[in-house]
C-alpha cells in the first residue's frame, strides 16, 4: 500500500461514550479492542461522556446479573493495549474522582483529548 500518512502508526481509536451496564456497547467495543491487540494492531481506547463510568472503580456487575466485562480491562497489557484516555471534563461534569479500576489511565483536558483522537488513522465510536 502507498500513501502512508504520518499518523498511521497510531492505528485505531475506539471512543466509548456509553455507560457500562445499560447496553452492550462497551462490551462490543472491548471485543474489537482485544481482537486488534491479538492481531498486533495498534489500538487506543478513549472514554468520554457516560463512557467514563466504564473506568470507575468498585463496580460489581454481577449484582445486576451481568457478566462483568470491566474485569477484562486489567488484562490489557497482554493485548498490548497501552493507551487508555479519559476526558477530564466528562469526569468533572459527573463529579467523579479519578479512581479507576485499571492503571495507566491518562486523564486529558477536552482539547488534549481531541488532539489525541486526531492522531489516529481510524475512529470507531460506541
Amino acid at each position: 500500500m502507498n500513501s502512508t500518512t504520518n499518523n498511521t502508526e497510531y492505528g485505531l481509536a475506539i471512543i466509548n461514550s456509553k455507560a457500562p451496564f445499560s447496553s452492550n456497547h462497551g462490551k462490543d467495543a472491548l471485543d474489537i479492542a482485544l481482537i486488534f491487540g491479538s492481531f498486533e494492531q495498534q489500538v487506543s481506547l478513549f472514554f468520554q461522556g457516560d463512557g467514563v463510568y466504564q473506568l470507575i472503580a468498585n463496580q460489581d456487575a454481577t449484582l445486576v446479573s451481568i457478566k462483568d466485562y470491566l474485569k477484562t480491562f486489567a488484562a490489557f497489557e497482554f493485548y498490548d493495549i497501552e493507551n487508555v484516555y479519559v476526558c477530564q471534563q466528562s469526569l468533572s461534569n459527573r463529579k467523579l474522582s479519578e479512581k479507576f479500576h485499571v492503571e495507566n489511565v491518562q486523564v486529558l483536558a477536552s482539547n488534549e483529548f481531541r488532539t489525541a483522537v486526531n492522531k489516529h488513522q481510524h475512529v470507531l465510536r460506541f
Partner: protein
C-alpha cells in the same frame, strides 16, 4: 489509490442504514474503491433471511444486495454478533444472498487496508 471501508451497526429498519446505503452508492458511483462493509452489533440483522419489512417501507436488505451485485461489494457479518441474535451460521440457509459470514478478524483486515473507515 484511496480505499474505503464501512462499518454498519444499525439494523435494517433504522433510518441510519438508509444514510449508509446512500453514502455508499454515491461513493461507488464516483469510482471510490470500497473494499468492504462490515456489519456489527444490530447491523448483522441485514443478513437474516427472516426479516420482513412492510413493502411500502425502505427495503435495506434488497439495497445491500443490489450494491453487492452491481459492484461486487463484499458484505461481511460478524458471526458472534449474528449468533447472539439468532442467526445461525452453520450453513447458509438462514443467511441472505450476498452476505459473507466473517469474524472480527475481518474488521482488522479491512481497517488496516482501508485509507478511510466510516461507521454508521
Amino acid at each position: 489509490m484511496k480505499t474505503l471501508a464501512v462499518v454498519v451497526t444499525t439494523p435494517p429498519y433504522s433510518p441510519l442504514t438508509i444514510t449508509a446505503i446512500n453514502y455508499l452508492e454515491a461513493a461507488l458511483a464516483t469510482g471510490v474503491n470500497v473494499i468492504g462493509v462490515f456489519f456489527y452489533q444490530d447491523g448483522v440483522m441485514h443478513a437474516n433471511k427472516h426479516i420482513n419489512i412492510a413493502s411500502d417501507e425502505y427495503q435495506a436488505i434488497k439495497q445491500w444486495q443490489n450494491l453487492h451485485t452491481r459492484y461486487q461489494l463484499p458484505l461481511h457479518i460478524c458471526i458472534t454478533a449474528a449468533e447472539k441474535r439468532g442467526i445461525t451460521c452453520d450453513d447458509n440457509a438462514q443467511i441472505n444472498a450476498g452476505f459473507t459470514v466473517s469474524g472480527l478478524g475481518e474488521l482488522v483486515e479491512l481497517t488496516t487496508k482501508a485509507s478511510r473507515v466510516v461507521q454508521f
